[in-house]
Subunit: 397 residues, 2 copies
């Protein structure tokens, strides 16, 4: 297997598409072919005023929906994506046959049952999957916003989503669910629109970004801004700072996994060092872990925008649920709706203690540990555990 091992590494583990394809082939149904949609949620007549000042006069939000909204507009479940995610949470689109990023959890008969719920997932404000963000064309200049895109926050993301849901006729949310940066939005929804949100399920996240998480984002951003191709953010979209963005992704990927999962998968294996090569180990060959990290970077560069990465990670660092709202304890005590809070025991980036600390102060919250060797990304890997918890939570009205 010498010559094939490099490829095998990538195909057997960490390849999201392959993983989803397998996970999706269960007895439960797929939502099938889905249509990405777009809605203008801000116009010059109704601009989006931003938390840190400034406004956006044109905001389009890309979204997908699965299932049917009931006549009262009360059966919606809002799904929030993570840093490099998109609105494509379930089913397959015309453009790409890749299942949505949470496809094993969303569909007829699945944990988030589309026979029962109207499921909505939208690309966040500032994203690069259809919603207005740094890679969108600024109508004033005719060029991409790039570094001139205004500073936005998680609260602004929620404000844009709120306009989308209102336009869709959603009066009340059965639940808001999401992990990582998605979990930040979940908690912001609970605090900003308590009258509209009947339940929340934040996963692998705490109440504010830690120094540790900020520091890790900071080095990732510096990898991008140190790349000469970044050009202070004014790169042509077809020539973005690939080296810097790839390195940022490699740094982040390490923190999305764990010591144990990387050790089990790669250990000290080298690229091409298969069985027949073991007698004469190619000690100059690079380690498989290095190859894996490079591959993850190359993959992201093909599908993501560097300025978007910079601005989204800044919004994450800015995230502090209590900011301007009194003490954190007070804010958490005010989250009265039922909450299912999940943490991951091997999470390096957002240690489980962060999620546990939420539950200590929330009056109606239950804490569940997702037990996994896979680290932070476990919420995108451990589908049976996540599904079982969400199914129970969503059926137990």
């Amino acid at each position: 297997m010498s010559s094939g091992s490099r490829v095998l590494v990538h195909e057997t583990w960490g390849d999201h598409a392959a993983l989803l394809a397998r996970a999706s082939s269960g007895p439960q149904g797929s939502v099938g072919r889905v249509r990405p949609q777009l809605l203008d949620v801000a116009t010059p007549q109704a601009p989006l005023e931003l938390q840190r000042g400034g406004r956006l006069e044109r905001v389009a939000v890309a979204y997908e929906t699965y299932g049917e909204l009931d006549s009262q507009g009360t059966n919606a479940v809002l799904i929030e994506h993570a840093l490099t995610g998109s609105a494509h949470a379930a089913g397959v689109t015309d453009r790409e046959d890749v299942p949505g990023w949470w496809d094993p959890l969303i569909g007829p008969g699945k944990a988030i049952d589309t026979r029962r719920f109207f499921v909505v997932c939208s690309n966040v404000l500032g994203g690069c999957y259809g919603t207005t963000g740094p890679s969108s064309i600024d109508p004033v200049t005719g060029r991409p916003y790039g570094p001139d895109f205004p500073h936005y926050t998680v609260r602004d993301m929620v404000a844009a989503q709120h306009r989308l849901l209102t336009a869709l006729g959603v009066k009340s949310l059965r639940a808001v669910v999401g992990g990582s940066m998605g979990g930040m939005q979940v908690l912001e929804w609970a605090v900003t629109h308590p009258e509209m949100v009947r339940a929340i399920a934040p996963i692998a996240i705490g109440a504010r970004h830690s120094a540790w998480a900020i520091g890790l984002n900071e080095v990732a951003r510096r990898a991008i801004t140190a790349d000469p191709a970044w050009q202070a953010g004014r790169y042509p979209l077809e020539r973005q700072p690939e080296t810097g963005l790839g390195l940022a992704r490699a740094i982040a990927m390490l923190t999305y996994r764990s010591y144990d999962s990387l050790e089990q998968k790669f250990g000290r294996e080298r690229v091409g060092a298969g069985e027949e090569a073991s007698a004469d180990r190619a000690l100059d060959a690079s380690f498989q872990i290095a190859s894996y990290l490079e591959y993850q970077g190359v993959k992201l560069v093909k599908r993501f925008d560097a300025n978007t990465y910079l601005s989204l990670t800044r919004a994450m660092d800015d995230y502090d649920l209590a900011e301007g709202r009194g003490s954190l304890n007070q804010v958490l005590a005010g989250i009265a709706m039922p909450a299912l809070v999940m943490g991951i025991d091997s999470d390096v980036l957002y240690p489980e203690a962060e999620a546990k600390a939420l539950v200590e102060r929330m009056p109606n919250a239950r804490y569940v540990t997702l037990s996994s060797p896979h680290g932070h990304d476990a919420f995108l890997i451990e589908y049976p555990q996540v599904a079982a918890q969400l199914r129970r939570f969503l059926t137990g009205d």
Copy 2:
């Protein structure tokens, strides 16, 4: 304290010189002013043959000694430094008034008592503090070796040290002591020269570099090699890739600390956001953690060489105590001398389990946890704990 907070952050924590100055002012003595020395350990007549092939015909080793060698040559303690360390482990040199990196542990009456022991610390092969390495002048070309410096390993470091000790008249080592990359050398000494080593104390290290540690080194190296100033390693020494090396250091610094220590020290504080600024928080100001990481990078760039960083981290990744020696269990079972193995409970980079696993197979080893919030660097911070353990270990013959 608004205007001063940026400076304060750096001076009150993580400033090694200030920390050492305080720690050194105890009742025990200093070794005083020390003289860096240099010895040629390889010549064209007696070249150093390298583990991975190739040879070095000129190797000078920079070293310091404290205390006196006894007439039998049996009272030496060898101190092994970590990645960016040097031979300057104790006292003060003429050039710089900065105490050595382990000064609180080495001196008359201290844990490693120079009234009793002849203490030796040398800069590793491949280093940039006087010992021959990538930043040394290649006698053949008259230019720095740079990327042409041959591939060397931890075993080669030990081979160069062995020549130094032999030349100094050391017949037997009372102990070999060191943390992190220093601990790798400690273990290699025990396996390579069991007849010469009477005790070992490896700290915060395991038997081989993990996928996690390799991955972290890999992204740090990529930060350097992505910097255009690196020039494939052929930069003039006075114009090295500062941005890349600084970023590599910032990435590494995160892993030398811990979630808790960074949270306690920096939390979400911003640069210049003191008390009087709190009413109108400067939300665009950078976080103190970002400033701290940048500062650590700037500091390293002034004192370290980028090609050296690349080659030393490659040697660390290459480190596998069992390579070519049978099973790891067999190798560890063969380490018969008394061993004090210390691990750090908050170590992110080399989790305590690595050090514990050593002790499980070593027949004469005792395990001690260094309890600290400070992560991997605790062996350079928690002096009282380290001192107490080493003192007990070294006096209990």
